[in-house]
Amino acid sequence: MYKNVLQAIDNIAIWPVVSLAIFFIFFIVLLWWAFTADKKYINEMSELPFNDKRK
C-alpha cells in the first residue's frame, strides 16, 4: 500500500539516498573536525570554565 503511495511522488527513491549521503558526509566532517583540532586549542577550551575571574 505505502509503496504505491510513495511511488506516486516524483523521485521518492532519492530521499533515502539523500538522507544517507547527508549522514555520511556530516559524520565524516564532524570526526575530521574534532580529530584535527590541535591539542593546545582543546586544552584552552576545556580550561574555559576556570578562568571566569580574570585572564
Partner: protein, 712 residues
C-alpha cells in the same frame, strides 16, 4: 591592555532559583497526589478541577516547564555570564523573561485544572498561552545571543553550544506543534489531523525531552561538573562530537513513540533506527561526564554535590540506553501503554534532571551567598532519601508494567484471553502503585529537606547581587594561534553557529515529515469514515476537557491479544477528521477506539456517574458534574466553522443548521435513556459524551457491511 570592570548579575539567578525550588515542591506534590489518586480514587476529591485527567497534565507541566525550566534558566544565566565574561545583555530583558515565564506558569496552573487543554502531551496549554510562550522564549534567546555578542571571551565553550541549540530547537518545535485554529479564547483545534497530528506531536514530544530536558542540562553538566570537581572535562574533543551528533540524530527519533500504531511503517522504522544510533552520542556524553571524575572519586565520597551529579549522569546513561531498547518493536510491544514507560521517564526526570538540579543548587547557593553549605549532613540525608525514592519509584513501576502487559496478552489453551476483563489487570498492580507513591513521597521529603538547608545557607551568608569581575575586551585584530580555520569559523561566529545548529535539526524534521504531509493518501481513505456530528463534536471536546486520553488510548494495535479484547485494529484512515488525534500514550484503563455498541447508553450513563458501582474495584473517578452542566449550543457554529477551516468537509452553511441535528441526536439518546428508566436533559454534557463514545469505531463497522454487500 585595557581591563574592563563589570559585574555578573546574580539577582536574576537567585530569582530563578527561588522559582525552581518553589515549583519543584509544588510539581512533586501534585505528582504525588496523582499517584495516590490511582489507588485511592477518593483523592480525586469529587470536584471537576482535581480529577486525575486534569491533575496529571498539571504535574507534567509543572515539573517540565516550571521546575526544570526555571532551573535551566538559573543555570544558564549563571554559567553564560561567567563563560563569556560579560553581564547579561540586558537586565530588563532578564526580568521580562523571568516574570513572563512565571506568568505562563500561573496561567497553566489556572487553565489546566479548568480543563482548558489541547490534549497534546506537554503542549496542553491553549493558544493564547502558546503565543506568550513563544514571545518569552524569543526574549530569552535574544538576551542570550545579545550576551554572546558582548562577550569578552573569544571562544564559545561547549556548554554555550548546547544552550544555543536548546533555544533554536525548542522555538521550532513549539511553533510547528502549536499550529491550531482558535474557536474561542481558550479553545482551539489542532491544524493537523489523525496520523499527521500524531507524527507532529511526537516529533515535538520526543524533542521536548531532547531539547528541554536534555541538551540544556548537558550544557549545565559541562559547566557545573568541572567546576564542582575542580578539573576540566575529560575530553573536549568528545564533547564536540557529542554535541553535533546528539542534536543531529535526536530530532529523527520521535516516531518511536508510535510503534505498532497506524503511523506508516517506514516512519516507524526510521524512528527505531535513529533511536538505536542515539546510544552512541548519549553514552559518549555520559562517559565524558563520569570520566571527568577520574582520579577524583575520593571527592565523590565526601562532597554531596558530586554525589548528586554522579547519580544524575548515571541515570542519564540508563535512561538513554533504555530509550533505544524501548524503541525496538519487540520490546515496545510489551512496554508501550504500560507503567514501564512511566518508570523510564521518571529515571530521567527524578534521576537526571532532578539530581543534576539538586547538585547545582548545593554548589551555586553557597557561592552566591559567599558562605558554606549550612549542613552537609542534611544534604547527604537528602541524597539518600532521593536515591531511595528513585529506586522505590522505578522498581515497582517496572514490575507493574511487565505484569500488566503480560496479563493483557495471556491466552488460555482454548485460545481465549485469560483476563478478558481489563479491570482484573488494573487491580493486580495497585499494590505496586502504592509502593511507587512511597518512592515519590521519599523523593519529595528529600526536596523539602534541601529547601530548608538552602534557606539556612542563604540566611547564614551575604548575598552578592552583583559579583565584580574584570576582563580585557575582545580586540578586532585577533589572529588565531591555534586550532585552524575550521574552528575559528564556528566558535567566533555565534550567528553562523546558530544557523548551522538550526540546519542540523531541520534536516531530520524535514526528511521525516515532508513525505507524510505531501501525500494525502499516506492515510488510506476509508469511504465510510464521516465527520463527527455536532453533538459528537461537543462530546469529543468534553472528552478532551476531562483529559480522558491520559488514561485511555484510542489505538488498537495489530496484535491478536488486542483485536481479541477490543476488536478490529485501528486504521490510519479512521482518524482523518480527528483534530487533534486522541491516541493517548498510556492505558490505565482500557482502549476506547471500539466502544461503539459495546455497552448501552444507560451503561455509560451509570458508569460515568459511579464507575465503582458499575465495575466493582474500578479506580476511575466519578464525573457527577457532567450530569448537571449543559453543553453550550452557541458554540456549535464556531466549532463547525473552525473544523471546516482545518479541513473537515462540513457543507457550507452547515454551522447554521448544525444545532438542529444536534438537538435531534440528543433527544434520541435522552429517549433511549428514558426507556431504561433514566430521566435526563438532552442538553446535559453526559448526553454529548455518550454520543461521542458510541461513535468510536462505528464507521469501520459500516465499511465492513459495505464490503460484505459488494462481495454478494
Amino acid at each position: 591592555m585595557e581591563i574592563q570592570h563589570f559585574s555578573y548579575d546574580n539577582k536574576i539567578v537567585k530569582a530563578f532559583i527561588i522559582a525552581t525550588v518553589t515549583f519543584g515542591l509544588v510539581g512533586m506534590l501534585v505528582g504525588l497526589t496523582a499517584a495516590i489518586q490511582l489507588f485511592y480514587p477518593i483523592f480525586n476529591f469529587d470536584t471537576q478541577y482535581t480529577t486525575f485527567g486534569r491533575i496529571r497534565p498539571l504535574h507534567t507541566n509543572a515539573i517540565i516547564f516550571a521546575f526544570v525550566g526555571n532551573a535551566m534558566f538559573a543555570g544558564v544565566y549563571y554559567s553564560l555570564q561567567r563563560l563569556l565574561k560579560a553581564r547579561m545583555f540586558s537586565d530588563t530583558l532578564s526580568w521580562i523573561h523571568f516574570w513572563g515565564w512565571q506568568l505562563i506558569i500561573l496561567a497553566a496552573a489556572i487553565t489546566l485544572p479548568l480543563g482548558l487543554t489541547t490534549s497534546k502531551e506537554y503542549a496542553e496549554l491553549e493558544w493564547p498561552i502558546d503565543i506568550a510562550i513563544a514571545i518569552v522564549w524569543v526574549i530569552f534567546g535574544w538576551n542570550m545571543i545579545g550576551t554572546i555578542f558582548r562577550r569578552r571571551e573569544r571562544h564559545m565553550y561547549v556548554a554555550i553550544w548546547f544552550y544555543i541549540a536548546t533555544f533554536v530547537t525548542v522555538a521550532v518545535l513549539h511553533i510547528v506543534n502549536s499550529f491550531e485554529m482558535p474557536v474561542t479564547l481558550f479553545k482551539s483545534y489542532s491544524w493537523y489531523a489523525g496520523v499527521q497530528d500524531a507524527l507532529v506531536q511526537w516529533w515535538y514530544g520526543h524533542n521536548a525531552v531532547a531539547f528541554f530536558l536534555t541538551t540544556p542540562f548537558l550544557g549545565l553538566m559541562y559547566y557545573f561538573l568541572p567546576k564542582a570537581a575542580n578539573r576540566p572535562v575529560y575530553s573536549y574533543r568528545l564533547s564536540i562530537i557529542h554535541f553535533w551528533s546528539l542534536i543531529f540524530i535526536y530530532i529523527w527519533a520521535g516516531p518511536h513513540h508510535l510503534l505498532y500504531t497506524s503511523l506508516p511503517d517506514w516512519a516507524q522504522s526510521l524512528g527505531t533506527v535513529f533511536s538505536i544510533m542515539l546510544i552512541a552520542p548519549s553514552w559518549g556524553g555520559m562517559l565524558n561526564g563520569l570520566m571527568t571524575l577520574r582520579g577524583a572519586w575520593d571527592k565523590v565520597r565526601e562532597d554531596p554535590v558530586l554525589k548528586f551529579m554522579v547519580v544524575a549522569i548515571t541515570a542519564y546513561g540508563m535512561a538513554t540506553l533504555e530509550g533505544p531498547l524501548l524503541s525496538l518493536k519487540n520490546v515496545n510491544a510489551i512496554a508501550h501503554f504500560t507503567d514501564w514507560i512511566v518508570a523510564h521517564v521518571h529515571v530521567g526526570g527524578l534521576g537526571w534532571n532532578g539530581f543534576l538540579i539538586f547538585g547545582i543548587l548545593y554548589w551555586v547557593v553557597p557561592k552566591m551567598w559567599a558562605t558554606k553549605l549550612y549542613s552537609t549532613r542534611l544534604a547527604n540525608v537528602h541524597f539518600w532519601l532521593g536515591t531511595l525514592g528513585i529506586v522505590f519509584y522505578a522498581l515497582p513501576m517496572y514490575v507493574s508494567g511487565v505484569v500488566q502487559s503480560l496479563m493483557w496478552k495471556e491466552f488460555n489453551p482454548e485460545g481465549f484471553l485469560v483476563y478478558k476483563n481489563f479491570l482484573e489487570t488494573t487491580v493486580q498492580i495497585l499494590p505496586l502503585h502504592m509502593l511507587r507513591a512511597i518512592g515519590g513521597g521519599l523523593y519529595l521529603i528529600g526536596a523539602i529537606i534541601m529547601t530548608y538547608n538552602l534557606i539556612k545557607t542563604a540566611y547564614a551568608g551575604n548575598f552578592i547581587a552583583n559579583e565584580a569581575a574584570e576582563a580585557a575586551p575582545l580586540t578586532k585584530d585577533y589572529v588565531a594561534t591555534s586550532g585552524g580555520w575550521h574552528h575559528r569559523v564556528l566558535e567566533h561566529k555565534p550567528l553562523l553557529f546558530t544557523v548551522l545548529s538550526l540546519i542540523a535539526i531541520l534536516i531530520g524534521g524535514i526528511l521525516e515529515m515532508v513525505p507524510t504531509f505531501l501525500i494525502k493518501s499516506n492515510v488510506p481513505t476509508i469511504a465510510s469514515v464521516k465527520p463527527y456530528t455536532p453533538l459528537e463534536v461537543h462530546g469529543r471536546d468534553i472528552y478532551i476537557r476531562e483529559g480522558c486520553s491520559n488514561c485511555h488510548t484510542q489505538m488498537v494495535r495489530p496484535f491478536r491479544s488486542e483485536t481479541e479484547r477490543y476488536g478490529e485494529y485501528s486504521k490510519a484512515g479512521e482518524y482523518v477528521y480527528d483534530h487533534p488525534f486522541l491516541w493517548g500514550s498510556k492505558r490505565t484503563g482500557p482502549d476506547l477506539h471500539r466502544t461503539n455498541g459495546k455497552y448501552s447508553n444507560a451503561w455509560h450513563y451509570n458508569h460515568m456517574l459511579a464507575p465503582d458501582a458499575v465495575s466493582t474495584g474500578s479506580i476511575m473517578p466519578p464525573y457527577p458534574w457532567l450530569f448537571e452542566q449543559s453543553i453550550d449550543q452557541n458554540l456549535t457554529a464556531g466549532k463547525i466553522s473552525a473544523l471546516r477551516k482545518v479541513g473537515v468537509p462540513y457543507n457550507d452553511g452547515y454551522e447554521d443548521t448544525a444545532n438542529e441535528d444536534l438537538q435531534k441526536q440528543a433527544n434520541e439518546i435522552a429517549t433511549n435513556l428514558k426507556a431504561d428508566g433514566i430521566e435526563t436533559s438532552p442538553n446535559a454534557e453526559i448526553v454529548a459524551l455518550i454520543a461521542y463514545l458510541q461513535r468510536l469505531g462505528k464507521d469501520i463497522k459500516a465499511e465492513k457491511v459495505a464490503q460484505t454487500n459488494e462481495n454478494k
